[in-house]
């Protein structure tokens, strides 16, 4: 019972919880951790859709950061536990950037933070990079924390194909099921230029260890409290079954490109990438490092060896330490 009470307090009672209402979407926002610190990290989840900002809280990285800073978890429209009955046709990169700006203004109004940092993972890199390079939005933040974030569909897709092709021959030679790997080669022959809404390259990269480098180590590092999330948290079945992941709903993301916006970023930037990330491969990190207008001595690229797409899940303490050092330097 004591354990249950503790769990209930964590997901259903701790911190502040509210909704951002914008253009029909009711997006949940959870502000948790050391709010008194005045230092806020606004996290932005991947996907988009089929994902939730609440997931970050299952990572030790963010639970540890909560001890020192306020962490803002939110679900983007039509993602996670976001509610409302908006039309999928209203989705766009620009719309979600607009949502993030409303959230930024809301956090500033409610808490008057001393400093704010913007963090994004995977698709969250598109969102945060696009946001910071739009108008004067980067003036709201003291730093950008980009965790395996993408910025352009075409570049990511080519890098992903190169990641797959660099590994598939040796994998096929050792495999008991070479037909499976040949199927991937055939698919690429038929689809030489896939776009982001094509789910196949993500699956192929995943089958080559592109998401998690060492699954045993990942399980040791990240304990997902499934029963707690189902029975004692804001999670609903929307997270599992009611997000429009079908290609007819998510083609809006195809050909996303925030390169011009990223070129305008001047604030300190921390880039955290996995050496063996197959979803957003390492060349994307080097591209971002080259593109940002930030003074080069304020751009920090940290590459985790033997790591896939989630440094905060595979190396949670190291990731926390990098983020904390960055924040302490620039808060």
């Amino acid at each position: 019972m004591a354990l249950l009470a503790c769990n209930k307090e964590e997901w259903l009672e701790s911190g502040d919880y509210f909704f951002l209402d914008h253009k029909g979407a009711k997006m949940p926002v959870w502000v948790n951790g050391n709010i008194e610190s005045g230092v806020f990290i606004i996290t932005n989840h991947g996907g988009p859709m089929a994902n939730s900002g609440h997931d970050f809280r299952t990572s030790i990285t963010f639970r540890e950061l909560e001890k020192d800073y306020a962490i803002v978890y939110w679900d983007q429209r039509m993602s996670g536990m976001s509610q409302g009955d908006i039309e999928a046709s209203t989705l766009s990169v620009e719309q979600i950037i607009e949502d993030l700006h409303r959230l930024t203004l809301l956090i500033k109004d409610k808490y008057n933070p001393k400093s704010m940092f913007l963090s994004g993972h995977s698709w969250g890199g598109v969102l945060t990079g696009g946001y910071l390079g739009t108008d004067d939005y980067q003036q709201n933040y003291d730093g950008w924390i980009d965790i395996a974030g993408s910025i352009q569909d075409e570049f990511e897709t080519v890098a992903k194909k190169e990641y797959i092709m660099a590994r598939i021959d040796t994998t096929m030679l050792k495999s008991k099921d070479p037909g499976f790997w040949q199927y991937i080669l055939d698919w690429y022959n038929e689809n030489p230029s896939p776009v982001d809404s094509d789910w196949e390259p993500y699956t192929y990269a995943g089958s080559l260890g592109g998401y998690v480098y060492d699954y045993e180590m990942y399980l040791d590092s990240t304990h997902i409290p499934y029963s707690e999330l189902v029975f004692s948290s804001p999670y609903s079945l929307a997270f599992y079954w009611a997000q429009p992941t079908h290609p007819k709903y998510n083609t809006w993301i195809d050909h996303y490109d925030v390169i011009e916006e990223v070129k305008r970023i001047e604030i300190p930037s921390l880039l955290l990438f996995g050496e063996f990330d197959g979803a957003v491969p390492l060349p994307v990190a080097y591209l971002v490092e080259d593109l940002v207008a930030t003074d080069s001595n304020q751009v920090y690229l940290r590459v985790f060896e033997k790591c896939g797409h989630g440094p905060h899940n595979e190396y949670p303490i190291e990731t926390k330490n990098y983020i904390k050092t960055f924040i302490e330097t620039y808060k």
């Binding site: 949940p28 004692s232 804001p234 929307a238 009611a242 429009p244």
Partner: protein
């Protein structure tokens, strides 16, 4: 309409009222009241029409009031019965936490918590145990899956566990 259909069809008719616990995802608490009309089709098989009025609260998510109508079959086996039903209703949901809007000038305003009403189709299975004089009371367990439609352009499924009591008021 189901109730009218059953009331006017052939066979012995029973009416009952009941109430029970309604737990969305089992643990998110609520309640349900019911009125049902049952028409025996044979010695062991009955057609059942059931009207529900209920409420539940999922903290940090939403609360919902719902009213729905079910049509199903019930099979008796001694003091026990087993049943299944399909339903259709409406639910009115309300967000449980403050809701804020940021207008185009960047000003913050509190916004309404009520969401648009949604359709609520459902499938319910269950089992009951009859007891008391002439077996006029019953305890029942009814898992239910219902859909909230529309929700983010598609439908959101919900699971619920219902446990309750029914008492027959007429034969």
């Amino acid at each position: 309409m189901f109730t009218l259909f059953i009331s006017t069809s052939q066979g012995q008719t029973k009416q009952a009222f009941g109430a029970g616990y309604f737990g969305e995802l089992v643990t998110y608490k609520g309640f349900v009241f019911e009125y049902e009309v049952e028409r025996m089709q044979s010695k062991n098989i009955a057609l059942v029409s059931r009207s529900n009025l209920g409420f539940y609260k999922h903290p940090r998510s939403h609360s919902a009031w719902f009213i729905d109508q079910h049509l199903g079959l019930r099979r008796y086996a001694g003091a026990f019965y087993f049943e299944s039903a399909v339903g259709l209703g409406v639910m009115a949901s309300r967000l449980n936490e403050p809701v804020y809007e940021v207008n185009d000038k960047g000003e913050i305003e509190e916004s309404g918590k009520w969401l648009n009403p949604d359709f609520m189709p459902s499938v319910t299975i269950g089992m009951g145990y009859q007891f008391g004089a002439e077996q006029s009371s019953a305890l029942w367990v009814r898992p239910k899956i219902f859909w909230q439609y529309p929700y983010n352009a598609i439908a959101l499924p919900h699971l619920a566990l219902q446990i309750g009591f029914t008492h027959q008021i007429s034969k």
